[in-house]
Subunit: 239 residues, 2 copies
Amino acid sequence: MTLQLDPRQNHLLAALPRDKYERLAPHLERVDLTLGESLVESGMMMRHVYFPTDCIVSLLCVMETGDSTEIAVVGAEGIVGISLFMGGETTPSRAVVQSAGTAYRLKGQLLKDEFDRASTLQFLLLRYTQALITQMAQTAVCNRHHSLDQQLCRWLLLSLDRLPTNELVMTQELIANMLGVRREGVTESAGKLQKAELISYHRGRIRVLDRPGLEARVCECYPVVKKEYDRLLSYHRPG
Amino acid sequence: MTLQLDPRQNHLLAALPRDKYERLAPHLERVDLTLGESLVESGMMMRHVYFPTDCIVSLLCVMETGDSTEIAVVGAEGIVGISLFMGGETTPSRAVVQSAGTAYRLKGQLLKDEFDRASTLQFLLLRYTQALITQMAQTAVCNRHHSLDQQLCRWLLLSLDRLPTNELVMTQELIANMLGVRREGVTESAGKLQKAELISYHRGRIRVLDRPGLEARVCECYPVVKKEYDRLLSYHRPG
DNA sequence: CTTGCTGTGTACGCTAACGCACGGAAACGA
DNA sequence: TCGTTTCCGTGCGTTAGCGTACACAGCAAG
């Protein structure tokens, strides 16, 4: 595992031309992220942006009551901390590690400098941000119109797409927090999937047994987001 | 009314330095938009971006079933067509005129050229886009956690903020489409507000009688979005 | 082996919102 | 003036998801 680690497992970094990448590379700092760790707090100034390589980060809106909702999820295809280059510096949302792993971080100012050169990096980051916007919009739609069963499928598939394995370390309680629903609701929906032999569940470990089965149950929100990510982030990897 | 019309009623255009504005001004084309008109269709390439001056445009996600949900609303503070400068060219959502009025449009390529100069315009548009992202995220949260009553208040206030008057031309049917709920649900919630003498409602015309009353009933989603817009879009108007 | 904690299953009443159906009233057009 | 359409109000059975409560099984620490 350790041997394989390379910042360019992150797709954005991988898509940079060699010279631009090498300008940034010395400043990339490896960080090992643990489940539940918070990378960004609501309204707090960030010092770094994070490029995940094999972890997943959830963007959450937390409300006054403490209830929360995941509005998007970021993996190796993306970056955490878009407000740094978008110009707002802060956001009213949190970023929490949903699946432990590694990321590379970069000082905000360095990223911003590179971004402001109207470089390849700017091009990549803006397209990525547009994909992220689509994910958020579709989350809003899904929250409004689709059943918990469908939302759970969507969530599993989105997570799965960002993991190297088909096993996912996550309690029902945490999933409930992400989806902004009751834990018992997740138990019930997950139970259905288990009975259908699409997943197998055991004390905080989910194994996905039948991915096509999940795709058959999921609402349109998942394919809409997936297609948009594919479309917007399918640049060639340069030499 | 006609006399007052000036592209610089749009806040983004107004915030441009004089020389940059005058470079764009000859290419700004006035368009009068009618209720229900569609500016952008899902997946369709756009030729123009639109700067509203006194109209409101809704960004909608439409699903296979025909059900829709508003994910954000744009008025004189913003621009319609962010995917043109974000780089994706298209989006999977629609943009529909929610309140008739005027906008100024600009050929996409001209905007993109100006944007790519890393100009003031780029700065403004990116900050605006971040604000828009917040609005979408909060819409997702609101859809998940808050009652229709609260959501209606939020919607009314967001619309009100983008109108010069306290009167709003909009049937309950249309509001229901925006919020992604049943028409009857809107009837009921609006009825409550009417009984409380916060609004008065009559065949597609809503007058807001007691704005503080609405603000007292609305969920936190409204102030969160409002504050973020104020924070991100409070640049000085140049000489 | 016991104790305690964490994660999961289940049950029950409750409520907001849904789908559907209908009625009436205001505007509109001929 | 009369019919038609648009818009709003209301009622009713249904349902998904909520809040609460509790039972139980794995797992870890003592």
